[in-house]
């Protein structure tokens, strides 16, 4: 036992094989593209949601920052990218940068206050920030279009080459590439010193302070990064739907993102993906079959996961192997 070299676990690596996870992801995205050619808009929504849930995973799953207000940064990214497209240029990539900056700046400024709080107080404050944003967007009709939503977004071709088509092929691939790149960067981060220190903050802020880490500043950094990623997700949504409504700030969005993350498993990047895909697919299918009771099914799923797989669905393979091997 002591002589066997134990290869250190790499966050986001499946069965220890390099790039297996990425290969599976690309294969699934390709398969979905050919299997459901008429549902590309829905598939694109899933991909955008994956990005939002990934941002939540960084903030909550890794750094342990309890939040129910990730929609604040998502919405701000959406409005910023939307307004940028309307008033400056319809080029998609600069719009993404603007969305990322808007989300990060909001997260940084609100984070300066929020990261002083803990637990329930923190959760309430994150909700408050999102409601304030909602109210501001509602009141600033002249700029945001208020309850009618921000209209008039016209997107130029991606990189000047790929025109957005009405079936949504370009949108699908554009969103996938962006989400995939952010995912790869997050994977790097998860295995790097910063990823480890975020887990440390989650496990024990007292110990982090006792080893000389600037806890508060590190929390603000994590929140800001998460805000930037949520901002990109919002920007993508604004660009591909060419509309931004007040819904982007809704409490429901933050709450659903949290449920998806818990379903898939916090603190593991694949958990965010699995949880989102399952939640949104079940929602899509069940809501079509029974528009009134689909939430019941989601509730059952969450209960099942919480009781039987407290680490989330991403943990299912490990849990099964353990069961088969006789709980060693």
């Amino acid at each position: 036992m002591t002589d066997t070299t134990i290869t250190p676990k790499r966050t986001g690596r499946i069965a220890g094989i390099p790039f297996l996870g990425e290969a599976i992801l690309i294969a699934l995205v390709l398969a979905a593209y050919f299997l459901f050619p008429y549902n590309l808009a829905f598939l694109t929504r899933i991909l955008i949601m994956v990005l939002l849930v990934l941002s939540l995973d960084l903030v909550l799953g890794f750094a342990g920052i309890a939040t129910l207000g990730q929609a604040a940064m998502y919405g701000t990214g959406a409005y910023a990218a939307g307004l940028f497209a309307v008033h400056v240029t319809g080029a998609p990539l600069p719009g993404l940068v603007v969305g990322a900056l808007a989300g990060a700046v909001l997260a940084f400024i609100s984070g300066l206050v929020l990261m002083r709080a803990r637990g329930l107080t923190l959760i309430m404050l994150t909700i408050a920030v999102a409601s304030i944003c909602h109210e501001i967007a509602n009141k600033a009709r002249d700029v945001t279009g208020g309850a009618d939503g921000l209209r008039g977004i016209r997107m130029e071709p991606v990189l000047g080459l790929f025109e957005f088509d009405f079936i949504g092929k370009t949108a699908y691939w554009y969103v996938f590439v962006v989400v995939f790149v952010v995912f790869l960067l997050l994977k790097r981060l998860a295995n790097a010193p910063l990823g480890l220190s975020l887990k440390g903050l989650h496990e024990s802020p007292e110990r982090m302070a006792a080893i000389g880490a600037p806890v508060y500043r590190r929390l603000v950094l994590a929140y800001t990064l998460g805000g930037g990623i949520a901002g990109v997700a919002g920007a993508l949504a604004a660009q591909v739907t060419q509309l931004v409504s007040l819904e982007v700030y809704s409490f429901n969005l933050s709450a659903e993102a949290l449920i998806m993350l818990i379903l898939g498993g916090t603190g593991r990047l694949y958990g965010a993906i699995i949880g989102t895909v399952i939640f949104m697919t079940v929602h899509h299918v069940a809501a079509a079959a029974d528009p009134f009771n689909w939430l019941f099914l989601i509730g059952l799923m969450v209960l099942g996961v919480v009781f039987f797989l407290p680490k989330g669905l991403a943990h299912l393979p490990t849990a099964l192997t353990r069961l088969v091997r006789g709980r060693t």
Binding site: P193, G195, L196, K199, E203, A209, A210, I211, G212
Partner: protein, 249 residues
């Protein structure tokens, strides 16, 4: 003016005075024990030094540098480190990751995000050496939560020493450790770097008399007496008040 110097330290919680005009010198190489009954204010004293609590009055300097203006993590950078009375570790991380976290903060790369955390070869060698020194090699890839309590205490000490402190405060390092394992703690304390200034808060008198070269007795937040272990062992006041010698009357 080297080492830790405390002058006239005061602290009270509401009406309860827990530190009262405390003076203390901890030059490099010292092995000082801080003893006293439950609630005497020993942990509070440690918290005042490390910056977890703010004193009501008094001075704290390290090599002449005023520590009062520094917050907890800045004091760690200045060279003051402590272990907690109740083991405080990253329980869901492995032993190695615990040490690595301390090391990467010490080396100022806690925010590096593009390179793998285990890709600094020299740093990993240093962790290996530290694990070996604390006889934790076999469990380096186990989660801390899966270790026996005595081993967790060792992990906490190994991790704290990764910070290369100049002043080390150990708050009851042997508390909760089964007697079969307590020699591990004593050995580890005896193997600490010679020039490190060590303050040991402890109830276990066997351990205190084995490792301490001077002893301070704290009662109700004030220093009752201090001296060499022999002085303290012979002190009737200490026997009466603390060592359970009350019935000698």
């Amino acid at each position: 003016m080297s080492g830790l110097k405390v002058r006239g330290l005061e602290k009270s919680f509401g009406g309860l005075t827990v530190a009262q005009d405390i003076h203390l010198d901890l030059p490099p190489g010292s092995r000082t024990a801080l003893i006293g009954p439950n609630g005497a204010g020993k942990t509070t004293f440690s918290n005042l030094i490390t910056g977890i609590l703010t004193p009501g009055a008094g001075e704290i300097t390290l090599d002449g540098q005023d520590l009062r203006a520094l917050n907890e993590s800045q004091r760690v950078k200045a060279g003051v480190a402590k272990t907690f009375q109740i083991t405080t570790l990253f329980r869901d991380l492995t032993v190695r990751q615990n040490l690595r976290l301390a090391q990467q903060e010490r080396d100022g790369r806690g925010r590096a995000w593009f390179r793998r955390a285990d890709s600094w070869a020299e740093a990993e060698d240093e962790i290996d050496a530290q694990l070996a020194a604390f006889r934790l090699k076999d469990m380096s890839d186990k989660r801390v939560d899966d270790l026996a309590y005595g081993q967790q205490r060792l992990v906490e000490m190994a991790m704290t020493l990764m910070l290369k402190p100049r002043v080390l405060i150990l708050d009851e390092p042997a508390a909760g450790v089964p007697s079969s394992d307590s020699h591990l703690i004593t050995d580890a304390i005896e193997a600490l770097p010679e020039d490190l200034a060590v303050l040991i808060i402890e109830h276990d008198m066997k351990l205190v008399f084995r490792v301490a070269r001077s002893i301070i007795v704290l009662v109700n937040g004030a220093i009752l007496t201090q001296g060499t272990p022999d002085d303290i062992a012979a002190n009737q006041q200490v026997r009466d008040l603390y060592l359970g010698g009350r019935h000698h009357g």
